[in-house]
């Protein structure tokens, strides 16, 4: 074993050096693109694309090695989680949804293309009876519109393809869910762990602040901000993120409180570890499972909140989120019912999938439960 280690490590070191130089090069390239974007050419990428690129690079540089070193732990948890079939189904649906949001728009029609010739087309196999006033005869005649396979989910009252709208809506809803939850979880973890680890006055101050934030009517705040700044999706995401961390902070705090008296923390202190090391390498890795569960379970809430905002007319009108489509569809629910049903079903399935996955993960991570 010692011999094997001797042989492996230099190679690993080399790989590490190559990785670092590639990492630096990619970051530099991105920086140049950004500078070009600002000063020379306009709009190479939009800001969101930059965010994705940076996240992607960070994932490749740090996420993948981390996943690789803890692959056996992940394997162990996957083994536990995969016994829950509902959770596996939920995960499959979420992966499908992500794939759909990523590459779906390449295969579907333009979701914004208006075509009044083909308005109100039902899904294939359904017909819509429409009374139309005929100008020539001066009488009402019944028009029968039958769906075509060209529009598998039908079209809305402006003749836009509903499938294309649903797929672009998936992109919006997932972005909202992931980013708002990301902000909320990051804040909640930071505040929760700090409060619990430092204890005393700091704990009191942070937790009372959390209490105040909790009593704050966040929906009213959203309505207020939308009223002042206008409906802007990025703003909505940030507000949901900045107000949604309170529950997380409390859960993480209580988990950390029980962790910090555990003996491995004391052993670390006895070895002379600094507070920062204890927080970063012991406390946070040990609440990661809780963080994953909270994140999974709070994504659907955020998606629903955005849908609800759109539904009451406070969403960003420039993006077709599921909530927007739902709202447009509910006005003609008695005739063109499919417009509201399609996003409704997608919302329902997405929320269900995240909840099933979250429950499954919670059971898998809980050492007390034998799944």
């Amino acid at each position: 074993m010692t011999n094997r280690l001797k042989n492996i490590k230099p190679i690993a070191q080399k790989v590490g050096d190559v990785k670092n130089s590639i990492f630096i090069t990619v970051i530099a390239l991105l920086g140049i693109t950004l500078l070009l974007d600002i000063f020379v050419v306009e709009k190479i990428f939009n800001p969101l694309t930059y965010l994705y690129i940076v996240l992607g690079i960070l994932f490749v540089r740090y996420g993948i090695p981390l996943l690789y070193t803890s692959r056996r732990l992940i394997q162990y948890y996957w083994q536990r989680a995969s016994r829950n079939k509902l959770a596996v189904g939920g995960l499959a649906f979420i992966l499908f949804l992500i794939l759909l949001a990523l590459i779906g728009p390449l295969f579907t029609a333009d979701p914004t293309a208006v075509n009044f010739e083909e308005k109100n087309l039902p899904p294939p196999g359904f017909t819509l009876e429409e009374s139309v006033y005929d100008l020539k005869t001066g009488q009402f005649i019944t028009n029968r519109i039958t769906g075509t396979t060209q529009h598998p989910l039908g079209t809305d009252d402006k003749g836009r393809d509903l499938l294309a709208m649903i797929i672009s809506g998936a992109r919006v809803s997932l972005q909202v869910g992931l980013f708002a939850t990301g902000i909320a979880i990051a804040l909640g973890t930071l505040i929760g762990v700090t409060a619990a680890y430092l204890g005393g006055k700091m704990d009191n101050v942070l937790m009372r602040f959390t209490d105040i934030m909790m009593t704050f009517p966040f929906f009213l705040l959203l309505v207020f901000i939308v009223f002042i700044f206008g409906p802007n999706l990025a703003l909505i995401v940030i507000v949901i993120g900045l107000t949604g961390w309170t529950g997380t902070a409390r859960l993480i705090r209580s988990e950390t409180l029980s962790l910090r008296t555990r003996e491995f923390i004391m052993a670390s202190k006895a070895l002379g570890a600094s507070d920062g090391r204890i927080i970063l390498s012991h406390l946070i890795p040990n609440v990661i499972s809780l963080i994953i569960v909270i994140a999974t379970l709070s994504i659907p809430g955020v998606i629903l909140a955005e849908a609800a905002l759109s539904f009451i007319g406070l969403g960003d009108p420039t993006v077709a989120s599921w909530g927007m489509i739902l709202k447009a569809g509910q006005q003609n629910l008695d005739t063109t019912w499919w417009v509201a049903v399609a996003p409704g079903i997608m919302l329902f399935l997405t929320v269900l999938a995240f909840n099933f996955l979250g429950d499954g993960l919670r059971d898998a991570f809980d050492p007390r439960s034998n799944v």
Partner: protein
């Protein structure tokens, strides 16, 4: 070498304040450790025995300064560590290490053995990952595990193996003194013997001193050079191992020794102590043991007996002597 005092504890006290009511007023204090003094020589094992709740573990943690003493002094190799600042303390930390009772919770469940032991090395300046991995394997082999165990997680080991890892982690920084806080009481008997033998081997190899905390006197007898008996936050008797087991002076020690099961002696006169340990919140006046003592004198509930030498380093705190 054996005569050099490695650690000296002088009149150590730890009171936990109990607050209650609206304004968090102090309503009482728990005297967990109340004026304890002893020393440990280099390469020596001092066994510390007593019932649960008598302050043994607290004492161990105070010596490591995982808890701050209320009063008293801890002198390690001539340095008073009760007055050290955070930075100096961290530098000194590697000389005193701890082994815990519960091998389940003493290892980070999210870290491989390589990471857990490697952390100890990293904190004390071994920055090179390759070098660390090599040293971890050496340590593992020294405590009776194998090289491939380095890549396993704690849940993949038995509790005996985990305790070996815990010992390995303490050993990683070459300490001079190890506080062993009931290191074998969570293990079954056959594993206990293995761990005790490992600790004895390591002691001869590295010249380690142990403060061995236990409630099991047969374990104490196997590993200690000297033995201290604690009752309600105070040391009641302290002597060489042979002396304390052959010639126990304090009635409490007598009672404890009479409770050790013996295969040869079927019917042994057991000294039964009535009642349970009084609350350290409100310890009895005078000698703390007088409420349960079978040889109680009239003076016992009035005056507290000091710990005095009755010859050849045999210390006892009792009015009988």
């Amino acid at each position: 070498m054996l005569n050099h005092k490695l650690l000296e504890v002088e009149n150590l006290k730890k009171y936990y304040l109990i607050t209650g009511g609206l304004l968090a007023r102090q309503v009482g204090e728990v005297k967990a450790v109340d004026g304890v003094s002893f020393y440990i020589k280099e390469g020596e094992t001092l066994g510390l025995a007593g019932e649960s709740g008598c302050g043994k573990s607290t004492l161990g943690r105070i010596i490591l300064r995982l808890e701050e003493p209320t009063e008293g002094e801890i002198i390690y190799q001539g340095i008073n560590i009760t007055r050290l600042g955070k930075k100096e303390l961290r530098r000194l930390r590697k000389q005193i290490q701890i082994i815990f009772q519960d091998p389940q919770s003493s290892l980070d469940p999210r870290m491989t053995v390589n990471q857990s032991i490697g952390e100890a090395l990293l904190i004390h300046g071994m920055k090179d990952e390759k070098e660390r991995a090599k040293r971890v394997v050496e340590i593992l082999e020294r405590v009776g595990l194998e090289a491939q165990h380095a890549w396993c997680y704690p849940h993949e080991f038995s509790s005996g193996q985990r305790q070996r890892i815990g010992i390995g982690r303490a050993l990683a920084v070459n300490p001079k003194l190890i506080i062993a806080d009931e290191p074998v009481s969570a293990l079954d008997v056959s594993i206990q013997a293995q761990i005790l033998n490992l600790m004895l081997d390591l002691q001869t190899e590295f010249g380690l001193a142990y403060l061995f905390i236990a409630h099991d006197l047969s374990v104490i007898r196997q590993i200690s050079h000297r033995v201290a008996i604690m009752y309600l936050g105070k040391i009641v008797e302290l002597a060489e191992k042979g002396e304390i087991f052959q010639n126990p002076l304090h009635p409490y020690t007598e009672a404890l020794l009479s409770a050790i099961p013996n295969i040869r002696q079927r019917k042994k006169a057991r000294i039964l102590l009535p009642g349970s340990v009084p609350s350290p919140l409100n310890p009895p006046a005078g000698c703390r043991f007088h409420t349960r003592c079978h040889r109680v004198l009239p003076i016992c509930d009035k005056e507290e007996p000091p710990l005095k030498d009755v010859g050849e380093g045999h210390l006892v705190a009792c009015h009988l002597y």
